[in-house]
């Protein structure tokens, strides 16, 4: 810890660097990780280069445990597939890997999140008469419903951290049981397919986790921000009773790996 602090003084890091590093630290050695494009790619590769060399990466488009020479810019990229154990397609990744229960951890993103970890990537406003249409679900809800742990990477803004999302694209801890639509704990909806759920949310200001009831609480605050800053950028009253302290900043080794090895072309880290 003292060493980290010392090395911090000697170099600078960007908010993106801290996000990548904080996300990488969520990977446990041996995890089978389902990853999307962008920052999550940096996170899994950084984890593989540091504390989790036995973790494995599955990209939705079909590559399983690839060892890319060059950073992919899409999960459909040929770069993902270099030296992969298996090359396949969507039936294999979404059903043969995800539905059958191999996936330990997934990194996902969203436009809005609520205090139960429900995420919206579909519309702002009423679905039948929306104010704004977003990208749509993609595999976000599938991955989030079947990985044992999911980590969301979000921008910290009041309008994005909401009491209730406008549309539940991906299921958090309190979701709707159809056809009736009553709100119940996720376990009740998934039954024997319940494997876990949203474990952490990492924003540009803080790391959040979920209590036994599935309600979000503030875990650590990134260097340079206060608990009050985070609350001011959150649209619901945040449980701050369990704050552990400051998010560990990146080390020099992590920064070097990110800029000189993983993203040496400056694609996600310009």
């Amino acid at each position: 810890m003292a060493l980290n602090k010392l090395s911090v003084a000697a170099y600078s890091y960007s908010p993106m660097d801290l996000l990548a590093v904080a996300a990488a630290r969520e990977v446990r050695d041996g995890d089978i990780v389902f990853t999307g494009t962008g920052l999550p790619m940096l996170a899994i590769m950084l984890a593989q280069h540091t504390h989790a060399p036995n973790s494995v990466c599955i990209y939705e488009a079909g590559s399983i445990d690839g060892r890319p020479l060059d950073l992919p810019t899409s999960v459909g990229d040929a770069r993902c597939a270099y030296q992969s154990a298996v090359i396949s397609g969507l039936t294999e990744t979404l059903y043969g890997q995800l539905h059958c229960g191999y996936v330990d951890l997934a990194f996902l993103g969203g436009a809005e999140i609520d205090k139960y970890g429900n995420v919206n990537t579909t519309v702002l406003g009423d679905y039948n008469n929306p104010l704004k249409r977003l990208t749509g679900s993609g595999g976000n809800p599938d991955v989030n419903s079947q990985a044992r742990r999911t980590v969301y990477i979000m921008v910290q803004e009041k309008r994005r951290f909401k009491e209730q999302v406008d549309y539940i694209t991906a299921p958090g801890w309190r979701i709707r049981k159809w056809p009736g639509g009553e709100y119940v704990h996720r376990r009740e909806v998934y039954g024997k397919y319940f494997r876990g759920g949203v474990e952490a949310v990492i924003s540009n200001m803080a790391v959040f986790r979920f209590d036994e009831e599935g309600v979000m609480y503030l875990d650590t605050v990134h260097p340079g921000f206060t608990v009050a800053d985070v609350q001011a950028h959150c649209g619901f009253e945040l449980n701050v009773s369990r704050v552990k302290g400051e998010t560990l900043p990146p080390t020099q080794e992590e920064i070097d790996l990110l800029y000189q090895v993983i993203d040496r072309e400056g694609i996600f880290l310009p």
Partner: protein, 325 residues
């Protein structure tokens, strides 16, 4: 049965009737049959029902040109080169197209059921979400689930208990069997055997699910070559109805082993797609003012194509500058 029929791009696009249900091979910004999409637009197709596992640049262009009246899928955009599917978004907000949202896993389940000749496929994915909110069943709200439309199921989904092992309620997703699959293949043999390079996406399922299949081949190669490594092939020739030989047919989307995604081209399109007016100007320049694929390639120019041409060993371009370093 037997070999696919060789056909021109214009003839093939002419086979698609207004109002039919179509789907595409490929994934987001990879291996999309773009030359065919441009030709559908030139021929002024209307009221197409586009059902696809996921959308991408091709969907945005087809929708922006006013060819699509129903879009069933899960996602539209251009990945890193344009965050939002602006045309899907515009139609959803302002009307003009029915948008039916499923998840990616749901769409794969639907195509999988269609491919295997099953009426539905069960899944435990994306339960508890608003994708299953009965109020958000767009085709139902439009009165199109009355059983009179052969390609539209009577229900968006159904729940049923597992009758065998008591695993609880599962979601049943209705099969999709589009009238047409339009498909881009890396290599096709003289007898129609189909190979795609690297990730297979939902390609073999899309071919099997559709009533009829049109393939645009980057290369036609000897059958004997493809049959040396049959494990790399995804369909036999009898599954393909029509074949078009058309190099660079997936541009600006990527084709592993042949060319990378043309990032600048897609970024430029994405900016144009932010209003109908700028879209229309883009479509004039890149679709309507160009009579055919050959002229499209001439307009792109050799420099641009060389820049994205794949390194044959790695399968992707090592010339394209991708980042700031």
């Amino acid at each position: 049965m037997g070999k696919p029929q060789n056909i021109t791009l214009k003839e093939a696009a002419g086979l698609i009737q207004d109002g039919q249900q179509i789907t595409f091979g490929g994934f987001t910004i990879w291996r999309r049959p773009m030359a065919f999409v441009y030709e559908l637009i030139r021929q002024g197709k209307r009221n197409l029902h586009l059902l696809e596992v996921n959308g991408g640049t091709h969907s945005e262009i087809l929708i922006g040109a006013g060819c699509v009246s129903i879009w069933e899928s899960c996602w539209s955009g251009h990945e890193l080169y344009g965050k939002l599917g602006e045309m899907v978004a515009d139609r959803h907000v302002n009307g003009g197209m029915i948008v039916e949202d499923y998840s990616h896993g749901h769409m794969v389940a639907r195509i999988l059921a269609g491919a295997y000749g099953l009426p539905f496929f069960p899944s435990a994915q994306s339960l508890g979400t608003d994708l299953l909110n009965p109020e958000f069943d767009s085709l139902g709200r439009a009165g199109l689930r009355d059983g009179s439309h052969p390609k539209i199921p009577r229900k968006k989904y159904e729940f049923a208990p597992d009758p065998f092992y008591d695993r609880g309620e599962l979601l049943l997703l209705p099969a999709a069997n589009p009238d047409w699959a339009i498909f881009y293949a890396s290599q096709v043999g003289e007898e129609g055997t189909v190979r795609v390079n690297v990730q297979t996406y939902a390609d073999s399922e899309v071919i099997k699910a559709a009533d009829k299949v049109i393939v645009l081949a980057e290369e036609i190669v000897p059958e004997s070559y493809l049959r040396l490594e049959p494990e790399k092939n995804i369909a036999a020739g009898y599954a393909i109805n029509y074949l078009i030989k058309l190099p660079w047919a997936a541009h600006p989307t990527g084709s592993q082993g042949f060319y990378d995604v043309d990032a600048d081209f897609i970024r430029t399109f994405y900016r144009a797609s932010k209003s109908q007016e700028t879209f229309d100007r883009w479509a004039d320049e890149w679709i309507f003012d160009i009579p055919d694929h050959e002229r499209y390639l001439q307009k792109l120019g050799i420099g641009r194509l060389e820049n994205i041409r794949a390194n044959p060993v790695l399968g992707y371009s090592t010339r394209q500058k991708r980042g700031t370093r």
